[in-house]
């Protein structure tokens, strides 16, 4: 049966349908929904393992890397330890004690024989390097601050998460509609 159209949803027939669905069918739909959520989570965890990053996909939040990336672009990251950090790479990092990840380019590196590295970053669209953004007294970033290296990107798509963040009502509306669709759709 095709999913009900919007006018149908507003009519009483729709409500009769839901009442007619017996308990078994409802549980079945709920389990279906749970399976979709679990699969999505497994794919996300799998991505974390393959890329080595705790956050393999991030949304660009600011315009500091324009014109390459704009707010709402989606970035795909890897964080393999074997990949050395080199100038020119786009890294996503967190400043100690702050939650927001920053996407900027590596401007300078100093690496010791044993692999210890300290590096400086700068946003393409910023006039100065990021030293002013780092923690008080911190002059360099280290490997531990890195969430990942940007390897690929897709424009615009991430704007949905930004909207959901800035307008919680929008987030609830999206979740409500999704839940409604899954529960009502009959295979």
């Amino acid at each position: 049966e095709p999913p009900p159209s919007v006018p149908a949803m507003l009519s009483l027939d729709f409500l009769d349908d839901v009442r007619r669905m017996n308990k078994r069918q409802l549980y079945y739909q709920v389990l279906n929904f749970g399976m979709i959520v679990s699969s999505a989570l497994m794919i996300w965890k799998g991505l974390m393992v393959v890329t080595g990053s705790e956050s393999p996909i991030v949304v660009v939040l600011s315009g500091s890397m324009e014109p390459a990336f704009h707010r709402g672009d989606l970035l795909f990251l890897t964080n393999r330890i074997e990949d050395p950090i080199r100038v020119g790479e786009i890294v996503v990092f967190r400043i100690e004690g702050r939650e927001i990840p920053i996407v900027h380019r590596v401007l300078k590196i100093h690496e010791k024989q044993n692999g210890d590295i300290k590096f400086l970053t700068k946003g393409d669209n910023n006039a100065v390097d990021d030293r002013g953004l780092y923690k008080r007294g911190q002059h360099w970033l280290e490997k531990k601050d890195v969430v990942g290296r940007a390897r690929g990107f897709v424009p615009y798509i991430g704007i949905v998460t930004i909207l959901m963040n800035d307008y919680p009502k929008f987030k609830y509306a999206v979740l409500f509609l999704l839940g409604l669709f899954v529960l009502v759709h009959r295979e």
């Binding site: 390459a68 020119g88 786009i90 380019r105 590196i109 100093h110 690496e111 390897r151 990107f153 897709v154």
Partner: protein, 139 residues
């Protein structure tokens, strides 16, 4: 790719600071030696970086200059007497007398969507730094 350099170092807060002027003549092509701005190339982020080794650090890389080249710009560079955009500070005093500082031109290809490759241009130039510091110089 041709660069020539006039250079000297000066100590500031215990670290060496290098001054480099350069020319760049380059024709940017893609991996198949064709025009770089194909249907999926939005822009290029070009950067000139200096790479060298010191007593303190096995590997140092410093970006001296960068430029964003948009789709529609001419992929040929003919720059003369350029000064570095960013301060060339070493982490210590490793520039003095360093004969093995190599300048390379590289670029990040930014697609409309897809992979973000980093490409290093063929050709590089070695810049030897003098053994002494300059005390004053108008730059």
């Amino acid at each position: 790719l041709r660069k020539n350099v006039e250079d000297f170092t000066g100590p500031r807060e215990r670290s060496d600071l290098g001054f480099v002027t350069f020319d760049i003549t380059a024709d940017i092509l893609n991996g198949k030696n064709a025009f770089i701005f194909d249907w999926n190339v939005k822009q290029l982020f070009l950067y000139l970086s200096a790479e060298y080794s010191t007593k303190n650090n096995a590997l140092n890389q410093v970006v001296l200059w960068d430029k964003i080249m948009l789709r529609g710009d001419n992929p040929r560079l003919f720059l003369k007497d350029m000064k570095s955009k960013y301060f060339f500070f070493d982490d210590g005093n490793g520039l003095k007398g360093n004969r093995n500082v190599t300048l390379t031109l590289s670029w990040n290809v930014v697609p409309n969507a897809g992979i973000l490759p980093l490409v290093t241009g063929s050709g590089h130039v070695s810049v030897p730094f003098p053994d002494t510091y300059e005390t004053t110089k108008s730059y």
